[in-house]
Structure formats: structure tokens, C-alpha cells
Amino acid sequence: MSAPRPEGGRRWPGLVSRVVAAVAGGYALGALVSIACAVLLPLARSEAVIIGMMLSFFAYAGVVLWVFAARDAWRAWAGVLLPGLLLMLVSWAGRPS
């Protein structure tokens, strides 16, 4: 089985880093999505929380797919961290006072 690197060659550090990005980064991004929805959606509190929870799993799955499809580990991480940062900023800005 080829590791997810078109140029071939087994590179354990890159693989481990991707697995971490997928498992931990994916969970973190899912959590941030659930928080952003809970904070930002202009709905009843319970509704916004439920929608956030339901979407978070798609975000998690999306991150995993992205991480293993990205051309190199750097891009993989960037694709997790940038949206994560963005979500954090937006949630922070829209936090209930």
C-alpha cells in the first residue's frame, strides 16, 4: 500500500503528523464548529447547540479527508489550522456579552 504521497517512499514522520492532524485536528475543528454554531446562530439556544453538534461530525470527516488528500503534511496542517483560527475569531467576535 502506498502512503498518501504520490512521489512514493515511506516517510513515517509525515504519516504520523498527518494522523495526528486528522484525529486530533479533526476533533478540534469539529468542536470549534459546534461552538461557532452555538454562539452565532440566531436561533433558540437549544436549537443552535443541536445544529452545531450535528454539523461537527461532518466537519471532522471533512478534515480527515482533507488531511490525507493534501499534497504534503504542511498543507494538511494549514488546512486544519487556518479554518480553526477563523472559527475561533468569529466565535470570539460574536460571543454573547
Binding site: A3, L32, S34, V49, V64, A69
Partner: protein
């Protein structure tokens, strides 16, 4: 780049499928069995089935709880339904956190003694807790479910000929080709089910897996969220004064008047015997897709209706539909059967995927099999055939263990795990077709003899159940026969017969030359 992308997804599909694969197989199979958990429980306690489902049954339950647990801090009565015809009693003794439980014997009106079993509940709980401490089991299953979601999506991307191969199955093709066909068919033809069951499975425990939005919005008060989202009435505080409880029957009759179709499934009494006791009647979900908590809350001493709960907001409704699809508690036999078959297809999809991993790496003649390959093959055999053996063994244990036995339910479960472990040992000692054939043969024998065992040990065997039109008992026995037959066919096909293999290869060659 496009091919590179597909390769990446194929790689991801392989490993996201293999690593949690054995757990996923077990979750799928026991979860599929749990579609009939009421029927399984009833098969395991056939003498305790109850015809009455209304006020009378509720009264019997209350009377018995008043006798055995008058000082409990809470009671719950699970009323019987058509598919789950046992009357269950739960009570929490003072100073304890967990409920104890029993089943009411309709013949005596008392909690049945002897023959205790976890019944179908064992498979149900196993499929999301793996018989581990709940926290660990649930997180582990959640992790595997997430991997499954990833495997499904990456699998769709990898499979480039979904429509061209939609009906393609070529058994008897060399190597892993026919396994790939089977895997693709099982995945593609039941794809809506696989996506649905995996995602809704995650949703069933979402407040545990993804609590962060809730934590923030409710400042860590999970109870407040649950009260709002599920609209559950707040728990009363005990007045610490005794007062007699009102008669339950009129309350149930009132609920049945409001819910003529769905009926009452559950009766909760908090602080029975206290002046502040409340009685909560929960609606059944016979013919409703969405699981929505609908409750009637009565004052326990006067029987006055205080509150009718239920949350119809769109997101809460959506979750209700998702949970309804996952639990499939509706009582439409045909639809229920379709879910069961789809669950079996999912189980087989995971199983064929696991087998394919080995088949693709089969060593050439004379090569040694690597340790990893042998390990995966043994795990495959011990899971794919070993788990059914253990499940059938669980039913055997139910019929063969003495009725009165200390920790009887635990013994049934020990036998289940002992058989499963033995299957792994056998698989590691007997790699290859021979081992597979032997385990299939054992599973077939265990399954096909279950109706016979039932005949020897109970008065509810096929000879009685069929003429009486008792489709619950007859259905279980016929189901065992069906599974036994399937395993017997598998065993026959797998049994190594050197002469035959040569002849088959020759035939195939001739056919291909002729074509």
C-alpha cells in the same frame, strides 16, 4: 493529480476500514441483532410474556413495586409491547445510584425468580459499550464510527465505476476480484443505510462526543440543556412526608385516550410514597418515525395533570428523526425486516472488506506469510465466524444453565466471551480454509440445533408455536434455522477438497476457452 487524489483516498479507505474493522464488525452484528432485542429477550424468558398492555399491567407493576421496594427513591415500569412483551420493573433503593431491575411474572404477579438473563439488552448494550466501562466503550465505539464515516466517504470516492458495476458480481473469479465485487455490491446497494446508520449512531451520543457548544451556551449546565432540548420536566424534591399514592389505572387510561395509537411505554415515579411524588407517563413510539419525548406529568397524590411536555422545534425534530431511524423501534414487520437485512448487509460489507485485505496480499507459492498477514487472518476468522458462534452460544447458555444460579446473567456472558476467545485461539492454530470451514460448521450446528434445544427445554417450540400462530417464538426459531443453513452452506463451500478444487479450476478453464 486526479489519480493521486484517488490513490490517497484508496489508502485512507483501506486503513480507516481495517484498523477499526473488527470492532465495527462486532458493533454492526450485535447492533443488527438488537433490532430484535425485545423478541430476543422474550425468547429467553418465554414464560413471562404478557398479553395485557394497558392500565391492568400498570397496576400489577405498581402493586409489586410497592411490595418489594416501598422505600425506593424512584420506580420505572416498562410496559410490554407487541415486540417486547415483558413487563419490566426498575427501582432505585435509597442511598444507591443505580436502578435494580426485574421482570414481572404474569402468573404470580411477582418479580420472576430463576432464569435471569440480560437477554437482548446484552447485544444492545454491547453494540455501543463493548461490555467495557461505559465511558471507555462509548468513546471507542464513537471513534470507530467516525472512522467508518471516513471509510464510507473515501470508499465512494475510490470506487470509480459505481454505476457501471452496479449489478456486477462475478463469483469464482481468481484472487480478490470476487471479494471486491461482493464488497462493492454490499456497500453500494445499501449505501443510504450505511451512511444513515453511521451518522445517526454518532448523533445518539453527541452530547457526550461533542459537548463543547453546549458547555459554552449553557455555562456547563448540561441538565439545563437536556431540559430545554428534550423538554423534560424538572425533578421534584421530596417533601419528606408520607402520603398515599393515587391509583395509576385512571392516569394510564387518560394517557391512552390522548395517545390511542402509540400507547404508554414507560411509567416513572419519583419518590414513591412521598407527599411530593410525581408520576410521569412516557409515550410509546409504535408508528412514529421521530423519537420525541412526550410525557404527561401527574401529581402523585392527587392524580392531577400538571404538564404535557414535548419539543417540536425543527432541530430537535431532526434529531428525533435521526434517532428514530437509528433505533427503528416502529412496529411494522416488513420495514423492520428491511432494516435487519440492511444491517446484515453492513456487517457483511465490513467482513468482506476485512477478508479482501488478506486476499489482496495472499503470498505467492512458496512464500512465507508475514506475521501481520497471519495476525489479520486470525482476527478475521475469530471475529467473522467466532462472534456468531459466541452469540449462538449465548442462547445455548440461556437454555442449559440451571434456572436458579447465583449471577446467572453474568454466567451467560462469560460463556459468550469464552466461546469467542476460543474462536480466536482456534483461528490462530488453524489458519487457512480448513479453520474457516470448521468454524462455519460449528456455527451452523449451534444455530440449527437451537430449535431442537428449545424443544427439549421449553413448551414454546416450533411444534407448539407454529400451530398457535405464535410468530415471535416461531420467528426466532426459524431465524436460527435460516442462519444455520447459511453457515452450513458456507462450511460446505469452504471445506477443502483437493480433488474438487482441481476439477473446478479445470472446468473454469474450459468454460473460459469455450466463451
Amino acid at each position: 493529480m486526479k489519480e493521486g487524489f484517488r490513490q490517497c483516498m484508496a489508502w485512507l479507505h483501506t486503513w480507516a476500514g481495517l484498523i477499526p474493522g473488527w470492532i465495527l464488525f462486532a458493533v454492526f452484528l450485535t447492533g443488527t441483532a438488537a433490532y430484535y432485542r425485545g423478541e430476543i429477550s422474550a425468547w429467553m424468558r418465554p414464560d413471562l410474556r404478557m398479553e395485557d398492555r394497558g392500565p391492568e399491567a400498570a397496576m400489577l407493576g405498581v402493586r409489586e413495586l410497592q411490595r418489594i421496594a416501598p422505600d425506593a427513591t424512584g420506580w420505572i415500569i416498562g410496559l410490554p409491547t407487541e415486540s417486547d412483551p415483558l413487563l419490566r420493573l426498575y427501582w432505585r433503593p435509597p442511598g444507591e445510584r443505580r436502578f435494580r431491575d426485574g421482570i414481572l411474572d404474569p402468573a404470580t404477579g411477582r418479580v420472576a425468580e430463576g432464569g435471569e438473563t440480560r437477554g437482548g439488552e446484552f447485544f444492545y448494550r454491547f453494540h455501543f459499550e463493548l461490555h467495557m466501562p461505559p465511558i471507555w466503550g462509548r468513546w471507542l465505539v464513537g471513534f470507530c464510527a467516525m472512522a467508518m464515516l471516513v471509510a464510507i466517504i473515501s470508499g465512494i470516492i475510490t470506487h470509480r465505476r459505481i454505476f457501471a458495476d452496479f449489478f456486477t458480481f462475478r463469483p469464482g473469479k481468481a484472487g480478490s476480484r470476487s471479494w471486491l465485487d461482493a464488497h462493492n455490491l454490499l456497500a453500494v446497494l445499501a449505501l443510504p443505510y450505511h451512511l444513515m446508520i453511521t451518522y445517526t449512531g454518532l448523533l445518539t451520543l453527541m452530547t457526550m462526543y461533542m459537548p463543547w457548544g453546549m458547555q459554552l451556551a449553557y455555562k456547563g449546565d448540561q441538565q439545563a440543556f437536556i431540559a430545554e432540548a428534550l423538554s423534560i420536566a424538572p425533578q421534584p424534591r421530596p417533601a419528606r412526608e408520607t402520603a398515599p399514592m393515587t391509583d395509576i389505572a385512571p392516569l394510564v387510561a387518560e394517557a391512552l385516550r390522548r395517545w390511542p395509537e402509540a400507547g404508554v411505554r414507560r411509567i416513572g415515579v419519583s419518590f414513591p410514597g412521598d407527599a411530593n411524588t410525581t408520576i410521569v407517563l412516557g409515550k410509546g413510539d409504535r408508528h412514529e418515525l421521530a423519537i420525541r419525548r412526550r410525557e404527561l406529568v401527574f401529581a402523585g397524590t392527587t392524580g392531577e395533570l400538571r404538564l404535557a411536555t414535548g419539543n417540536d422545534a425543527p432541530a430537535a425534530q431532526t434529531v428525533g428523526v435521526a434517532l428514530g431511524l437509528h433505533f427503528a423501534r416502529f412496529e411494522w414487520p416488513f420495514l423492520h425486516g428491511l432494516f435487519f437485512l440492511s444491517g446484515l448487509a453492513g456487517t457483511a460489507m465490513v467482513g468482506t472488506g476485512l477478508v479482501m485485505w488478506v486476499a489482496k496480499r495472499a503470498p505467492k507459492r512458496g512464500e512465507r506469510r508475514s506475521f501481520g498477514l497471519r495476525l489479520v487472518e486470525a482476527l478475521n476468522m475469530g471475529t467473522i465466524f467466532g462472534l456468531p458462534i459466541a452469540m449462538f452460544g449465548f442462547f445455548w447458555a440461556n437454555r442449559l444453565l440451571p434456572g436458579v444460579l447465583d449471577q446467572r446473567p453474568a454466567w451467560e456472558i462469560r460463556i459468550f466471551f469464552a466461546l469467542w476467545l476460543a474462536a480466536y485461539f482456534h483461528a490462530s492454530l488453524r489458519p487457512g480454509r480448513r479453520g474457516w470451514a470448521e468454524q462455519a460448521g460449528l456455527a451452523a450446528a449451534l444455530a440449527m440445533l437451537l430449535p431442537v434445544l428449545n424443544m427439549l427445554t421449553t413448551r414454546h417450540h416450533l411444534g407448539v408455536a407454529l400451530p398457535a400462530g405464535d410468530w415471535l417464538m416461531a420467528g426466532m426459531d426459524l431465524g436460527f434455522l435460516g442462519f444455520g443453513l447459511a453457515f452450513a452452506l458456507a462450511a460446505r463451500k469452504l471445506w477443502p477438497r483437493p480433488g474438487l478444487a482441481v476439477a473446478a479450476a479445470r472446468n473454469r478453464q474450459l468454460r473460459e476457452e469455450g466463451a
